[in-house]
Symmetry: C2
Subunit: 373 residues, 2 copies
């Protein structure tokens, strides 16, 4: 029998609605989307989503497992997104919460080209400890000043420096100039320090200029980049993972609209599985208790999905950011497991001696022994 | 003075929160995203979003106009999305509602390659009347049967036939086979009928195979395609509009999560402006009173934005679908203005004589005189 893609949805049904009819409506909407009887029973049977299980979870709330034929996804990421959450995204009470992926589908979506291990190797970092990165910012600063920040952080021995996700190709620090200047300062610092600090420029698109921008990365010797999958399109990230040759750190910009309580996609599925299947080697989440409303359990679940066996896909690394100052980071480091990349925010850059502050953070993580793996 | 991009946000503030501080937080989050004092006042002044106006709209609800420096958007669509709604998408109470676009930005995003006029011309349709299309479906049907549907609809004289948005490259009707078969049946029907029914295959990605799939369209003589901007990425659509040579009909699949009452992007901004700026020649909305919760005013507002002057951009056409059967369509046609493309759903294909039913619809729109323009 052909494999199926099983998806769990949560939805609402009013007291005068038949929840089973509602669940079947989801299954039909996402596949045939047609009145009954326009095609043979055979065609309906082979292509229609099948209601597999239905349960009430709370007053007026239901969970349905719907099984889609493997072939309906066409083995392609855009059609997979359309199949799982295309038209039903227009219903305000339908939330996609979990998917069971058949191996055949995961073979078509090979995921991270580097993975957590590969990213760690690119930084020259030993195993069993988290990584620490600095974010070059803000928007408006010139390339020379950003390069100076990068140099200080690399001399301090941080594992990575990355562009802020708002650095695109603005006249203040144009992409080519910035990438070359920062990369050369990081390389110079690495020669001096003996570290292998990795620089990840922001690959902000446009999607039809990726080729040209990847050439700049290659010229500058950059082996990693920041991408925002929901800004660029998840499939654009998959395409980069398949052919760019650089490790991809995925930023949650523009993704928040999917994180509704009653609609959207469960964060552990979106960030922990779909981003990984699209090829993110690291996935940034906001830190619990920071500027964004993210729960500790949510982050743990994302981390678990990024690391769990998933076909032949490499595990990806959790990255935590969003307003972590150097003091907070010092208290956090080590509390989310060794496969975590902590992003020091602008607080690090505000320290009077950035190089020394970076060195303290770098020292801190290198001293850590694994708590759990 | 450099032009600005002014954006209006609605947000919530608790009684113990200072709404002005909250509004300034949005402006800073979307630009500098950094603690105060890490860069000079000059850098802050040139790059930071500026709170321009603030008003209370309801209990605990506020509207803020924030002015971003033109340069912050980098003249690129992905960074524009990130600037307008990147990080703040992670706050569940911030909704982007309106944007005032400087001419300099619209010059960088030239929008529809064909526009409503060009799409109408491709169908050989006269002005002053709406267009009517059929949707080839469902998923699971073979290419030969889909081609037969297309032939019936073309012989009936419909303006367009388009693939259902779930037809990708499934084994049931592989992309190349389907496009060639349907296109050749439509061409044959056009020779017979004297009409110029346009066939729009679904360009479902993958984004790194667009080149190959556009070659299939060119071989088959197709001048239009269906795209789902939120599945493919808005910038992928912009790239297609810039270089594909085919008119683009934009489907709202996967976009619904942005349509929250308290978060997301106002539908008239997302569908009426951003889709148009990305190059959609027609934009599909669900019909009010159909399967999806869409209001009549919402659709009118989308239509108004698609048609309004916007820099030098061509107006785009509103397309209405989502469960319109032939009888309903007959009663609807003409009620949304002449620049509307009605999509007849599977109800048309369920009629005993599809060709005759299509001919009745085609006749209906050709008899219409403009009510408003």
């Amino acid at each position: 029998m052909s494999p199926e893609i099983r998806a769990r949805y949560r939805f609402a049904a009013a007291s005068d609605e038949d929840p089973e009819a509602r669940a079947r409506q989801i299954a039909r909407e996402q596949t045939l989307e047609a009145v009954v009887g326009i095609v043979s029973a055979e065609v309906e049977a082979r292509a229609e989503g099948r209601l597999d299980a239905l349960a009430a979870t709370a007053s007026g709330r239901f969970e349905a497992w719907i099984a889609y034929p493997f072939e309906a996804a066409s083995g392609e990421l855009p059609q997979l997104l359309n199949l799982l959450y295309g038209n039903v995204s227009l219903w305000p009470d339908v939330r996609l919460e979990e998917v069971q992926w058949p191996r055949e589908l995961l073979e078509r979506l090979p995921g991270p080209a580097f993975g957590a291990r590969g990213l760690r190797a690119l930084c020259g970092a030993g195993t069993g400890r988290p990584l620490v990165a600095a974010v070059l910012k803000p928007l408006g600063l010139g390339a020379r000043e950003l390069a100076r920040q990068a140099s200080d952080c690399a001399l301090g021995g941080l594992d990575l420096v990355k562009d802020d996700h708002s650095l695109a190709d603005q006249a203040w620090a144009p992409f080519r100039e910035r990438v070359h200047l920062v990369a050369s300062e990081v390389a110079r610092a690495n020669r001096h320090s003996g570290h292998a600090t990795l620089y990840a420029p922001n690959l902000s698109g446009p999607v039809d200029r990726f080729g040209e921008r990847l050439e700049v990365l290659a010229e500058a010797g950059c082996r990693a980049a920041l991408v925002a999958p929901m800004v660029l399109g998840l499939d654009a990230v998959r395409s980069l993972a398949a052919s760019s040759g650089v490790a991809l750190i995925a930023h949650p910009s523009f993704a928040g609209a999917y994180l509704g309580a009653d609609r959207g996609i469960a964060p552990e599925l979106l960030f922990g599985e779909l981003f990984r299947m699209a090829g993110a080697d690291a996935v940034i989440s906001a830190i619990p208790g920071g500027r964004f409303p993210v729960g500790e359990r949510e982050v743990e679940e994302i981390a678990r999905r990024l690391a769990s066996p998933l076909g032949g896909l490499e595990p990806a690394m959790l990255s935590l950011g969003g307003g972590i100052d150097a003091a907070r980071l010092a208290s956090l480091v080590g509390s989310h497991g060794p496969e975590t990349l902590y992003l020091a925010g602008s607080g690090l850059l505000a320290r009077p001696d950035v190089r020394r502050a970076a060195a303290e953070l770098a020292e801190l993580v290198r001293r850590l022994r694994p708590r759990h793996s």
